[in-house]
Amino acid sequence: MRYTIGIGEMKVSTSVEDILITYSLGSCVGLSLYDPVAQVGGLIHCMLPLSRISPDKAVSYPARFTDTGVVALLREVIAAGARKDRLIARVAGAAKMLDENGLFKIGERNYTVLRKVLWKNDVLIRSEDVGGTISRTVYLEMASGRTMLKSGGREREL
């Protein structure tokens, strides 16, 4: 089955028949986690770096924020049978506008927070495609464990 992960959403899968896809990552960050042994994977699309902007919303929508979202995704893939030391993490997004004002810097801050949370959890980033001014679409193919990246009409493995 094909699942679309919207802004501020996440999905964990244990079925080889699933494809998890998220469209149009601007400054948001997309993270795919995959354990090839347990064949458990997950994908998240986080919008804003820190949940302190709206702590109550972080409770109902943890995936909206990078700090609470990445923790929640890690927890869910592990609950579904993945092991932290086998997780393959791939990251895309964190783009910016031209001359982006320092008040925003949402992409850059999303990426910094994401790295920090993964580092704290001893999960290494295997590959990434971040920054620039492009919009990106990412999908995790559970059958192969591959994470694919689409942008500007081109597609490649992330």
């Binding site: 802004i7 601007g26 709206s54 783009a95 506008m97 925003f104 919009s135 500007g152």
Partner: protein
Amino acid sequence: MNQRDEILQRTRTVTLLPNAVAQAIPLFQDPETPVTELARVIECDPGLTSNVLRLANSAYYGRQRSISSVKDAIVHIGAQSVFHTVMSAVMASFGDATMKGYGLPSDQLWEHSFAVAAGASLFAEELGYDVSGAAHTAGQLHDIGKVVLGSFVDVDVKPIEERAFKGEVSFEQAEREILGIDHAEVGAELLERWNLPREIVEAVRWHHEPEQLDDDHRLIADLVHVANSVCLIAGIGTGNDGLNYHMSQSATARLKLTRKIIEEVACDIHLRLVEVRSWLNNQGR
């Protein structure tokens, strides 16, 4: 004739505006227009009428009782909200007009327009400016020039994209270099012909460069500019043009924006989008 003149001429022949909407625009701008008169013009168009009634009866407005006439809808949800529905119906009427060149499916353009409209009015409210209605309408219509360029003029966007991404110039700059005109100006020309108020026309014309307007006429353009920036960053309805636009350094300073306000509004825009999507899904759209 050069391409700019050709595009402008083509824009003048675009008649996408339903008759009822054309009549409604000046009436809704005039606060003296009686409610019965507003209702009458909308009721001429069955599609518009059903949209207004659907919205008025939706959970979005938290209505408990049922509203069965346009007049009741205007009384209960306000003329301003009814006008938003009318303009939103204009954007939605491009249902099949996929922005071929811009790589933007029509529902994405609708979502982007909805989100920028919500953002511009939320920023206005949050910052205490009494212009949230005009900011909403300008936000809804800010990219209407893309519809004209993408569907009616059928421009080839490939060279524009290449110029933008390889030359590291903004997308609207690349449009100007290659077409002699950008989507913001095309949109403004169209809205001028539709007799929309000057403040909305100019906000659309300068939504990428609000500093081109003078101090007294810049507020709505500033609000649409920051709302558009938030939506591009959040990836709400971004096309092949991606985030390849300049952010105005002065707009954020003029509005005295803070990071907290920006991110709170971003959250609220997203929340409204989730609400309207679930409402539309329930309506079987």
